[in-house]
């Protein structure tokens, strides 16, 4: 007589913690995202431990010959003031991290706040608030930076504040459009019917469903802020020297000595590209994993079609 084995219909799994689950899924399913995550982690570590890692100070002049090529004492060479380039790049990681994260943080806070409220509540509030957003977007960013910089003097705080607010208000329209896209959904109507307060609806029901574009915006902004800082330092409005920002190094010394000392431009540019790339890839992967609307199937219909009987 054969033994009938009952296959359990329901397998009990030990529930993993949310973050552990995220991490494991990240490594298992998203190789690009893992690479991105590693890069970001490295960036944060270097930024925090800059004092320990850098062989010289970022502003110690003439520790090596002017525009020296890479050598054993100065692994990446020296810049036009004889400062060790490796040290400046390590400290630059800290600067870029601070600028990128601060700007992105401020901008996400502002854009989410404005976007969700305006998008959900709509009506008169939306119209008035959007006029302010419009008016703000009409003021050219360069004008703002120049004005504030002329009043406060060049520095990191004015740059961060101006960029953060500018990005934030501009991106509020994207958040708002995403909110408007889900406004007609039934679950919102249900929540209202049950008697949820508006605040609770916004926090519990609207926000998680627009997290996807917000995460993308955050990661875009981190990279974008670092690049924008590079761009405005081309015009002389960025972080003042001797702050070792990668963008600043690229735009000033990098361009001027492109033929005489290419290492001055290659290294900051390379690190900038890698870091922005990593941030963006990580952001994509996080969004893929966290978006509730992406649960259930990968939507990969080419794979599905292969499984169909011919």
């Amino acid at each position: 007589m054969a033994q009938i084995e009952l296959a359990p219909t329901f397998r009990e799994e030990r529930a993993r913690s949310f973050w552990a689950d995220l991490l494991i899924r990240l490594v298992r399913e998203k190789p690009l995202g893992t690479v991105g995550g590693a890069i970001v982690l490295l960036l944060l570590l270097v930024g925090i431990l800059a004092n320990v890692l850098a062989p010289f100070g970022y502003n110690e002049t003439y520790v090596g010959p002017r525009l020296a090529a890479p050598s054993p004492e100065h692994l990446l060479g020296c810049d036009q003031l004889g400062r060790d380039l490796l040290s400046r790049i390590i400290y630059g990681a800290r600067v870029s991290t601070i600028v990128g994260l601060s700007v992105a943080g401020i901008s996400v806070l502002i854009s989410t706040f404005i976007g969700i409220i305006c998008g959900y509540i709509g009506g008169k509030l939306d119209i008035i608030a959007q006029r302010f957003v419009d008016a703000w977007m009409c003021i050219p960013g360069l004008f703002l930076i120049l004005t504030i910089m002329a009043v406060t003097g060049p520095g990191m705080v004015p740059v961060i504040v101006v960029l953060g607010i500018a990005y934030g208000i501009g991106q509020s329209r994207i958040v708002r459009s995403a909110v408007m896209g889900i406004k007609a959904n039934t679950y919102l109507e249900a929540a209202r019917a049950v008697g949820c307060s508006t605040g609770r609806i916004l926090w519990k029901h609207v926000l998680p469903n627009v997290t996807a574009p917000i995460i993308v915006l955050f990661t875009i902004t981190v990279g974008g802020a670092i690049l924008t800082e590079a761009t405005i330092s081309f015009l002389g409005l960025g972080l003042p020297p001797p702050t070792p920002s990668w963008g600043g190094m690229l735009s000033e010394a990098g361009r001027r000595y492109m033929l005489m000392a290419p290492h001055l431009a290659v290294w900051p540019g390379l690190f900038l590209a890698i870091v922005v790339y990593g941030i963006n890839m990580l952001g994509d992967a996080m969004r893929d994993l966290l978006d509730p609307r992406l649960r259930g199937g990968l939507g990969r219909y080419d794979v599905a079609r292969k499984k169909l009987p011919k």
């Binding site: 977007m137 009409c138 050219p140 002329a150 994207i174 690049l227 761009t231 963008g247 992406l294």
Partner: protein, 318 residues
């Protein structure tokens, strides 16, 4: 819908008024006024105080600020954008010469950006987590990871050393010589487009991914429709709303110009005009360009909002 559009157009006016007043006043209170900049040019003046007063009067800046604004507004309403404080040339005429440059650059850049962003975004979404996805996204992200001025300088400097060639410096108007003009614009446009494509590509991919998991897409598959039809007729339209927003946000490039590209490639566009005016505190030019950009931005935003309603019937405007 028509009522909505009319209302928005009417609301344009008070918003423009507020924006222009803010910029008008702010620029005059920024440290480093145009009077002092002009006075620095005659630093050897015997009596600097008197010279400063003479400059102030000559520029029309010795009247109260509301009188200055009134005069400026009066000029605008009669179609006169004013005269530059430094060159005395008509701003309107200058803008008519410079706008075509910026617009042409902007349009070519946008087309390049969309040509790069949309296909890569869509393919990355429908072939998620395959090699195609990784390669496509990597290319797009690398495009936006390197600053535009860096790529531009590379393109200008290294060919001059290796091949003895550098892009044409002198601007050729499109009517005079269309081929030469396009040859001059193609490189800056591609560079700008590459930089602009990144954001659009990622947003396209994100929204496509979400849309592809919707029930109506599953129904379309179940019905046996080909992949191409599913994507184009059902998925795209719904994914495009935030993408339209992003493209709409990038449209002001057409009039804001791209200062860095214009500076490096020597194109006389609005971007350079504005930045030069900012640094020289040329108040009328700043106000005039501000007005033009403001109007354009708000019209773009209106167009984007209207496009939402067209793309997504669930979006209603009262």
């Amino acid at each position: 819908m028509r009522a909505y559009i009319t209302r928005r157009l009417l609301l344009l006016i008070p918003t423009l008024l507020i924006v222009t007043i803010i910029v008008f006043c702010a620029v005059r209170f920024v440290p480093g006024s145009v009077i002092e900049l002009m006075a620095a040019q005659i630093g050897e003046a015997e009596n600097m105080e008197e010279a400063i007063q003479s400059i102030k009067h000559g520029l029309g800046l010795d009247v109260p600020i509301y009188v200055q604004y009134g005069r400026w507004l009066g000029g605008i309403l009669t179609g006169n954008l004013g005269k530059s404080l430094w060159t005395g040339r008509s701003i309107g005429e200058e803008m008519l010469n410079r706008l075509p440059v910026s617009i042409e650059l902007g349009i070519l850049a946008l087309i390049t950006a969309l040509l790069i962003a949309l296909p890569i975004g869509i393919i990355s979404a429908i072939r998620q987590d395959t090699a195609t996805d990784y390669i496509g996204r990597s290319i797009a992200i690398f495009c936006i990871s390197v600053p535009a001025f860096w790529l531009a300088t590379l393109v200008v400097v290294y060919p001059s050393v290796w091949f003895g060639w550098t892009p044409a410096i002198q601007y050729i108007p499109i009517l005079k010589d269309p081929v030469g003009n396009l040859k001059q614009f193609i490189i800056p446009a591609i560079l700008m487009g590459m930089v602009m494509s990144g954001t659009t590509m990622r947003m396209t991919r994100t929204m496509m991914l979400e849309v592809l998991r919707q029930d109506y897409i599953r129904t379309a598959w179940a019905k046996g429709l080909k992949e191409g039809v599913v994507i184009s007729r059902h998925a795209l339209k719904n994914a495009l709303i935030p993408v339209v927003t992003i493209v709409g946000m990038q449209l002001p490039i057409l009039v804001g110009g791209a200062v860095i590209i214009e500076t490096i490639f020597g194109l006389p566009g609005i971007g350079r005009y504005f930045v030069d005016a900012l640094f020289q505190r040329d108040y009328p030019v700043i106000s005039a360009i501000n007005l033009v950009i403001a109007t354009f931005v708000m019209l773009c935003n209106l167009a984007v909002d209207v496009t939402y309603a067209y793309l997504d019937p669930r979006v209603q405007y009262t």
